[in-house]
Amino acid sequence: MKFAPLVWANLRRKKLRTLLTILSILVAFVLYGYLSAIRVAFNQGVEFAGLDRLVVRHKVSLIQPLPESYKARMEAVDGVELVALATWFGGVYQRPTNFFAQMPVEPEPFLEMFPEYRLSPEERRAWAETRTGAIVGEKLASRFGWEIGDRIPLQASIWPNKDGSDTWEFDIVGIYEGAEKGTDTTQFFFRHDYFHESRGVGSGLVGWYWLRVADPDRSAQIAARIDGMFANSSAETKTEPENAFIQGFANQVGNVGAILTGILAAVFFTILLVAGNTMAQAVRERTAELAALKAIGFTARGVLGLVLGESLLLAATGGALGLSLAWWLISRGDPTNGALPFFFFPADDLLLGVALVLFVGLAAGILPALQAGRLAIADALRR
């Protein structure tokens, strides 16, 4: 530590070079943070799926509806605690690019199924009392500036109204908050009874069901039991844990993880080159000085430490600034202005980022440091 001023003085010698190197490392870690958040967005919150929740959908495809009558039959299955239904509404708010998810649900089982959607008792009561009532997530509400009491028209793309019009109107009665950082608060839920009575087609059908099981260890058994119950009917089911369902959904996009990892590898390779090159140059220019240090008694290890310390300090400064900047940028919202349900900097990735900072510092400095440590004093001084 007593040589810290020496390291500091070396970094200040070429201020511009030090600044540029720190900036390039900073940029790399901003990118790292941003790509982590994008990966989270593409994973669609699979890590936040309830372990005791199953999803029951039509075996052929999610777009095929299931009979509403399945609910009572599933409730009777041993080990099933709760059944909640939902349907994909697919309405358009003002224009198609304002995409968000809308689903008719039955308020009571739904809110019990998803305790992570937090609503005040007054809002719950209001929803129970208002047939056209809808609850929206806080991210969604702030995206469009909605408040409780607003009347929101949606243009139906799948479900025309019974009266032949495409417009459905809803009254916002509640704005739910997420219990965790990863809770999806970009959705719009309204009442199934309103949907049921007003839709022109598809009566008696719903999109899918969520089940809550008493014992997650028995999930597979219960899923098999339910699928068996409806086998050979006109609407066979596929039941799977919520996380498997979401993972499958996320996988539809393709191997985003591999693509992002590839890009990150390219980024870090580039940054290592830049930082490593700077360190090599710094050492080359100071050959005579380093030899002088050794001549006055610095050990090989001491010189090596000096050079490595310098490179670590560069990486730590750039990395810390970069990670903080990434954190700040990501917390300000996603690039689509609120359409992505999941967009944040995961704590695990932040830790990995810190490890990467150390790695960049060591990797960039190690070769020049070894070179400096091995300097033969007489040769170097003569140069």
């Binding site: 390039s24 940029v27 990118l31 393709g254 890009i263 980024v267 830049v274 090159n277 700077t278």
Partner: protein, 399 residues
């Protein structure tokens, strides 16, 4: 004229001098070059995905084709038309006629879950019910392996893209869909278009299997000419028996791919832009140290009477040459690694899978090169100015 000639020969001399000393700075120069190559590689890679998807969509669309959906529907999946409505569309003015009557194809569109080969998890594979005129409206479709399905039977033909990306679509395989068991009897190509991601079956059999009665989701029509579109659209939208939206097929596909390609291009540009910033810092570092390594040399030249313009230019030329080399290397590598790479992704607009090939076009390579040159320019300009401003006497004394 003479002054210009003299000036140019000064530029040439100084640049030659700079490039001759390049091998002494090969480590730093290579680092700057590779940094820029990395940026161009990532940029071209990401844009080649968007280009591949766009190409697939464009190939699917014929200029004289129109698509008719129910009002409010944003894709085939959400649409619904009755058999009578489909007939009305076929009889509309502007529709071309073939041997079997009007070139209008009423189609059914559903998705079925099939596991993706790469992940083993279910994906939304499109299944299209077609009629006899469909093959005249989409003439690019032809069976390349096995045979065409027989009308009235539960048989399907599968697009080569779908067969490659999803499990259970090999010749002879069976699918349980709706209230029927279907046999795969053939594979078809569609000139690289989006149909290659789909499974095709007889619409009448599919209607029965899905209890759809006599209903369809979309009608594609070939018009007598692209100019006949206005007349065709006006006739349909004015018809009180219909509640439809009419688009050119090219517009429809452009709309279907806009969201997906927009996201990819947007993200790709942000990532490459940030990376580019990092690479510019690297290039600046390299060029500043190049100038400082040559301080004495530059000062000597200036003392000999070379003016500052050629000195600035020589530094710029060096940095842009390095950048161009990096850009070419990055673009070339992207072409070798990714061009033609086939994969599938979900198109959220149609909620179904689309298979496509990454496409590195000459345009993309040029775009990559332009990015590289801009990075070289930004990375070279400040050091070049510093070189020109060196105080000659002090610089000569240095080093």
């Amino acid at each position: 004229m003479r002054a210009l000639g003299n000036w140019l020969s000064q530029v040439a001399a100084v640049t030659r001098f700079a490039l001759a000393t390049l091998p002494q700075r090969k480590g730093a120069s290579a680092a700057a070059m590779l940094g820029i190559a990395g940026v161009v590689l990532v940029l071209v890679f990401v844009l080649s995905i968007a280009t591949g998807i766009l190409r697939t969509m464009e190939r699917s669309a014929a200029r004289e084709n129109a698509i008719v959906l129910r009002t409010g529907a944003t894709s085939e999946m959400m649409s619904g038309l009755s058999g009578e409505q489909a007939d009305l569309v076929a009889e509309a003015p502007g529709v071309a006629r073939g041997e079997k009557g009007p070139l209008a194809s009423a189609e059914l569109f559903v998705i079925i879950d099939l596991p993706k080969r790469t992940t083993g998890t279910d994906a939304n594979v499109p299944l299209r019910g077609v009629v006899t005129t469909t093959f005249e409206v989409h003439p690019a479709v032809r069976v390349v392996e096995g045979r065409m399905f027989r009308w009235g039977l539960a048989e399907v033909v599968v697009g080569v893209g779908a067969a490659r990306e999803f499990q259970g679509l090999d010749l002879g395989a069976t699918l349980d869909v709706g209230e029927a068991r279907w046999t795969v009897v053939g594979l078809f190509e569609a000139a690289g278009g989006v149909a290659e991601s789909e499974i095709w079956a007889d619409a009448a059999v599919l209607q029965a299997a899905y209890n759809r009665g006599d209903s369809y989701q979309a009608v594609y029509a070939t018009l007598t000419s692209p100019e006949a579109f206005g007349e065709f659209r006006d006739a349909l939208t004015a018809d009180p028996r219909l509640n439809v939206k009419v688009q050119r097929q090219t517009e429809y596909y452009a709309e279907q791919s806009a969201l997906l390609t927009g996201i990819i291009t947007g993200l790709g540009t942000i990532v490459a832009g940030l990376m580019g910033l990092g690479a510019v810092f690297g290039a600046l570092n390299t060029m500043y140290s190049a100038v400082s390594a040559r301080t004495r040399e530059i000062a000597t030249l200036r003392a000999l009477g070379f003016s500052s313009g050629p000195v600035v230019l020589s530094v710029l030329i060096e940095s842009m040459l390095l950048a161009a080399a990096g850009g070419l290397a990055g673009g070339g590598l992207a072409y070798l690694l990714f061009d033609g790479f086939r994969t599938a992704t979900i198109n959220w607009s149609s909620f179904s899978q689309i298979t496509f090939a990454f496409t590195v076009t000459p345009g993309l390579l040029v775009q990559g090169l332009v990015w590289a040159l801009v990075m070289g320019l930004i990375g070279g300009l400040p050091p070049a100015i510093r070189a020109a401003r060196l105080p000659i006497a002090a610089a000569l004394r240095e080093g």
